[in-house]
Amino acid sequence: MTLRSASQAGTPSAARLALILAQLGRIVVGKDEPLRLALACLLARGHLLIEDIPGVGKSTLAQALAATLGLKYSRVQFTSDLLPADVLGVSIYDERSQSFRFHPGPIFNSVVLADEINRAPPKTQSALLEAMEERQVSQDGQTRKLPEPFFVIATQNPTEQIGAYPLPESQLDRFLLAIELGYPDSAAERELLSGGDRRSRIGDTAPLADPATLADWQREAAAIHVAPALLDYVQALLAASRGHTGSGEAASRRGLSPRAGLMLLAAARAYALIGGRPMVLPEDVQAVFPSVAGHRLAGGTRAGALQSQSLLRAVPLP
């Protein structure tokens, strides 16, 4: 889009974010829009759910994001025997100091990749999801703050559900965005095949930001202007998702909650920041809407995303 790139350098943060996206794009090839959404999710202080089959670059994306932003990264492979302590950490008796010492789990990192989250039993899932919501871990009567920024990328494989514990709707709601990566197009695939292992490049990546800068950007995103006309539009979208349109096809049995509306605004603000605009446009809302609404509407992420696409087409700009 010529117009958007022309206005991309509108703010200093937008220029640096463009650089970051460019660097990410060299590692995760041909996935500009998912990368942009993932970055917007991080800037909006939300968590990301990636639903896709293995091997399309989910871990690469998480690692590249952490490396480029200069954040500490850890990865937890969720399995059916994973316990909450394996994620959160455990207190072990230290004979030398005659006391219990807390060994922090992998969650005490800024970017946490929770791989195949639907393989773990619900107890472990909810331990992670609670930590995501509270941004702290309470254990043995002690509350420990998680690092700031704190960003969880959870993945799940939607096609293999045997022996899995699919996340209930209320848990899905904790993820700001749910995206799919999908197969790369042929040019990108050719580049992948000829270019060798992408992960090895991550080690060479120079960080382009640090936690403090990231926190600044997050504050900046939260302050992006939202006009009354845009709120009208968001409200119309929410109402349409609740089936107030009088049309049976678009009506859903589970509409978007007010919190989903707030999250939609937060994501759209971050998206506008990446676009270098001081205000949110309907285009920003439309860009993030399927990812925000998809997993919150009935029928699974994919059906929800399709439904939200048709909602977008159905609701005119006020």
Partner: protein, 692 residues
Amino acid sequence: MNASTWFTLRPQRGTTTVRDLLTPAQIRCLGVLLLAAQLPQAPHLPIWVAATGIMLVGLRIVLLRRDRLRPQAPPARIPSWALAVFAVAAALAVRASFGYLAGRDPSVAFLYILVAIKFLETRSTRDGTLLICLACFLLVTPFFYSQSPLAAIVVLPAVLGVGVALDALTCNRTALPAFDWRSALRRSAVMILQGLPVAALLFVLFPRLAAPLWGLPSDYGAQSGLSDSMSPGQISELSLSDAVAFRVDFDGPVPPPALRYWRGPVFSRFDGRTWSPGPFMLRGGVLPVEGPVVTYTVTLEPNHRRSLFALDLPVALPVFSGGAAPLIGAPYITIDQQLLMRAPMGAESLRYSQQSVLRSRFPAMSSLESRANLGVGEGNPRTLALAAQLRALHPDDSAYIGAILEKFTREDFVYTLAPPLFERDPVDLFLFGERRGFCEHYASAFVLLLRAAGIPARVVTGYQGGAVNPRGGYMIVRQSDAHAWAEAMIGGQWQRYDPTAAVAPSRIELGLGGALSAGEPVPFLARLDATWLTGVQLAWDAFNHDWRRNFIDFNRDRQRSLWRDWRLDQFAPWQVVALIALTIFAWGAMVVGWLMWKRRHQERALVLWDDLNRRLARAGLPRQPHEGPLAFASRAAQRWPQFAIAFAAIGESFAELRYGSVPVARERDALVATLERAIDVLPAPAALRTTH
């Protein structure tokens, strides 16, 4: 036939394209319209017709719902041959139910079912339009039965529904999933309100015809009111009814209660039990009596009879107001001074103006009258014996009549609404047995006693009294005011005698409620103790009466007199038509001007943006309703790359103005100026269309 074959499922086929097919939302909308149009008509139909029509519409809606719940299954469809069979069956059933088909009632019933059948096979936009026309026709049918304000209010939802359905049918298809019935309803209501002045203008000014183009066919319906004969118990039964017989608007002061004798059917023939009209139903003439003339207008409720009512004694023939006269024909007055129409009354109420002189004595019209009013019928021997006995004592006519009236007053006769049933020799039983009776018993016995003594006498039925409605200043005469009295010929003059007055004088002064003892089943509205409910009822009656007077009966004469009042009669008809056209045009200009004024006071940026959207749409690039400013501008820039810079400026400045925060007025103005200049760069739509 196996019922399941009616609802066979098969994939949709045929020549209609997907674009022409109605969406489920549109069909539902039509269904709601049909229900709204059916409901006002339903009370006038046999219950099976009403239920069938509503159920057919419901069936379609249920099938739609089934389609929605099972999106994979082929849409449910009732084969058209089944619908045809059903239509024929409905016609036969209507024929069987009514006994005939070519009349108002069966036709309306058939239309009612047919519209529902049409809805079952409605699939394309064309069907939908046809269905809306049919619904409009269905909406008119309740007025065949009643033209009361209530009937008008009841069809209002359906009128709104027509607007909503039209809105849904013409709605932009891409925006259809977002079809919002609330806003459609609001739009429809606003448009009806905007049309009201035009409707009012046409109502007042559009030249009316002297007679309606077609009369309402009247089917034989329920009857109430005085009948063509009188036997014991008939009037007392009628007196149990609150129903209005007629309403009267007096031109001058209202006559006192004792003089309010509304003359109706006159009976000369008596068979010992039942009174019936004599040979004097023939055309007579208005008697030349003198006295102050009372002028008034009667609005007679439909009663399917030929009688008209007038205060005793009518001195002119009634003059029908408006278009009714040519249909009914001129009324006439019989020899025994009752007013008759040539044909029974139709389903509509009737208004006529009438003149009377209030007097109880008038000359007989024909010498034959004295001979024809002497028959005593069969039976009642004791009454005849009593008459002979009394006559021997009082050879003078007046003295004899006085003696009879005195007998009623002196002896313990009781005036009651619930007299016993007199099977044989009713007058004997009444006079010598029960001594309890209603006005018809007294009148009957009185006349028989006179006839037995050789004095010509006859029974007159009609209404006595009537109450002035304080809310409207007009008089209501109810069925409970029905009355029977007597006339005797003395010295060539007919003299009115009311034997009931001798027994219960308060019946004449206070009406039924005052004359009956406690515990009698007096109709609610005839009681003397007024409650708030009576007040509400009277107010509603006054409203109905005004409605009838001012709207339903607004005919050519009234229109002409209104034009005279407004000094419009000096213009030629074409000038009036031109005036109407001019006024409608002015009104349209006002509405459009108001819309434009509103638009001008909207944000300047929005106005410019809307203009641009219109121009680009004409150039072949309409903006999608959901398309944001930047997305649309970049699409336009791809279409016309030579204007990419202008489109970029347009998109960004409009986005900034509409969605940004630009608190400084000068900055806003600068952005608006940028937007305006950038739009000015673009050529006209026609030129844009041809450039690539």
